[in-house]
């Protein structure tokens, strides 16, 4: 019983010198969460971070939020702050891994793996610093005992990491000229990548009319998930027939720098990569604010034997992640997950739209890889070109 390939395969059909058709095949196991039905809430919470280990914090916290809503529980402000802190540390770790491990390959460079190695363990360290019993995703909230020394040290490590990622770029509000100067002269991988994109005239590559998802998700999300007996919606979601985008660009399109880049390049590569960097800077700033406010809270057992429906949403590194649960007398009857990759790599989503119509040429696969990296799917993405010219 071989395990299937769970990646995304993209096939670009070239006719008359341009990409005429984009075929996307996803092997992602979007229906797999159905089998969580029949389990108790605590079993589900224990299983989620292992099954989805790469963004396990976001997955388990979305699950906890959904289960709490279904059971009529609400997490306190202290628990919400602690969870937000964990989510931000995972978000920073995910972005930094991508920048240090994957972006060098886009420049035909070899990544410095010793810089990547400490990133993933940071997420586990953050959990241990807040929840010594390991119950960080317990519905209702776990026993929160803040190790202030460890948390402070971690926020310093994260600030060092971000400083290494960005070199001497420290003020994100100075505007486009300073940003351009930074990437024109900077020596870090992020500056080199942006410099190359601009030098190759690819700053606007992949730009399309944008359909950004709002921070609270599409208005019809709860209803569409409820009606989705076939699983078609979680595999290929839409809102009014449109595959919305949920990415760092949709999160930060109002940021002055991203906004200024979009005025020049629309939703092309340069604004997309810049929005990833803005996301990192914003997450670090929020971590530094939260560190001051984290506080202890004893564990109060929550009653999870209720009946109800819950929708939990979290802002994960790659976009909005939604979990929906139907709980009946304390047992999960239905469990659905809708991840950002299903929106952004929808057959008609931001990636497909961005690459459709692109000029053919020997570097088409490379341009497509850049666009895929900017949109950052959470699985491997293979790209092939079929030239029918």
């Amino acid at each position: 019983m071989a395990f299937p390939d769970t990646g995304i395969s993209v096939s670009l059909e070239v006719r008359q010198g341009q990409v005429a058709h984009v075929a996307m095949r996803s092997g992602r196991l979007v229906q797999a969460s159905r089998l969580l039905a029949g389990r108790g809430p605590n079993q589900v919470i224990a299983l989620l971070p292992t099954l989805f280990a790469l963004c396990g914090t976001a997955q388990a916290l979305a699950g906890a939020a959904a289960l709490e809503q279904a059971a009529g529980l609400s997490a306190t402000a202290s628990q919400r702050m602690a969870r937000r802190y964990l989510l931000l540390v995972e978000c920073l770790s995910e972005h930094a891994q991508s920048i240090l491990r994957d972006w060098p390959a886009l420049l035909d460079e070899t990544p410095r793996l010793e810089a990547v190695k400490p990133l993933r363990p940071m997420v586990g360290a953050a959990k241990r610093a807040l929840y010594p019993d390991g119950d960080w995703a317990r519905p209702g909230g776990g026993r929160l005992v803040v190790d202030h020394g460890a948390v402070l040290e971690q926020s310093r490590l994260l600030a060092d990491l971000v400083a290494r990622l960005f070199g001497d770029l420290d003020d994100w509000d100075d505007g486009l000229d300073d940003f351009r100067r930074w990437f024109a002269q900077g020596d870090c991988v992020a500056a080199r990548l942006l410099r190359r994109i601009e030098a190759e005239g690819l700053g606007g590559f992949g730009a399309t009319p944008v359909h950004f998802m709002s921070a609270t998700g599409p208005r019809d999300l709860a209803e569409r998930l409820e009606d989705d007996q076939s699983g078609d919606y979680v595999a290929r979601p839409d809102h009014g027939g449109i595959a919305l985008e949920t990415t760092p660009l949709s999160r930060h399109h109002g940021h002055p720098l991203v906004n200024a880049l979009m005025a020049e390049h629309g939703s092309g590569l340069l604004p997309r990569f810049a929005a990833r960097l803005v996301d990192v800077a914003a997450a670090l700033r929020e971590v530094e604010e939260l560190v001051q406010d984290l506080c202890d809270e004893p564990f109060i057992p929550g009653v999870m034997d209720g009946t109800g429906v819950g929708l939990g949403m979290v802002d994960a590194a790659r976009g909005l992640l939604a979990h929906r649960v139907e709980l009946q007398e304390g047992v999960v009857r239905r469990y659905q997950i809708l991840a950002p990759t299903e929106w952004n790599f929808h057959p008609d989503g931001a990636f497909a739209q961005g690459i459709r119509g692109a000029a053919a040429g020997p570097d088409l696969v490379r341009r497509a890889r850049l666009l895929a990296a900017a949109l950052d799917p959470c699985v491997a993405c293979t790209i092939e070109v079929h030239d029918h010219a």
């Binding site: 071989a2 196991l29 797999a32 299983l47 989805f52 993933r120 959470c378």
Partner: protein, 77 residues
């Protein structure tokens, strides 16, 4: 879904490991692992499978593998 498939290390040499999951073997780098690992340990692989991302406790690996086997059997994959 970006599911993590626990893979068992069947051999190791020079920072690389051959790992097995559901009868399929592949080669992956151990360079990014924080923990020491040995043959028989379970790891999960990062995006694309080129690097092992994390060592997994055997009981967690068993639980996740049982769930994934159920997913395959049910045709939900």
């Amino acid at each position: 879904m970006c599911m993590a498939v626990p893979s068992r290390i069947v051999s190791m040499a020079n920072g690389m490991a051959t790992v097995e999951a559901f009868g399929t073997t592949r080669t992956t780098s151990l360079m990014l692992l924080e923990d020491e690992v040995a043959v028989g340990d379970y790891v999960i692989l990062g995006v694309g499978g080129n690097f092992a991302a994390e060592k997994l406790a055997p009981e967690l690996a068993a639980e996740a593998l049982a769930y994934l086997a159920e997913v395959l059997d049910s045709g939900q994959a």
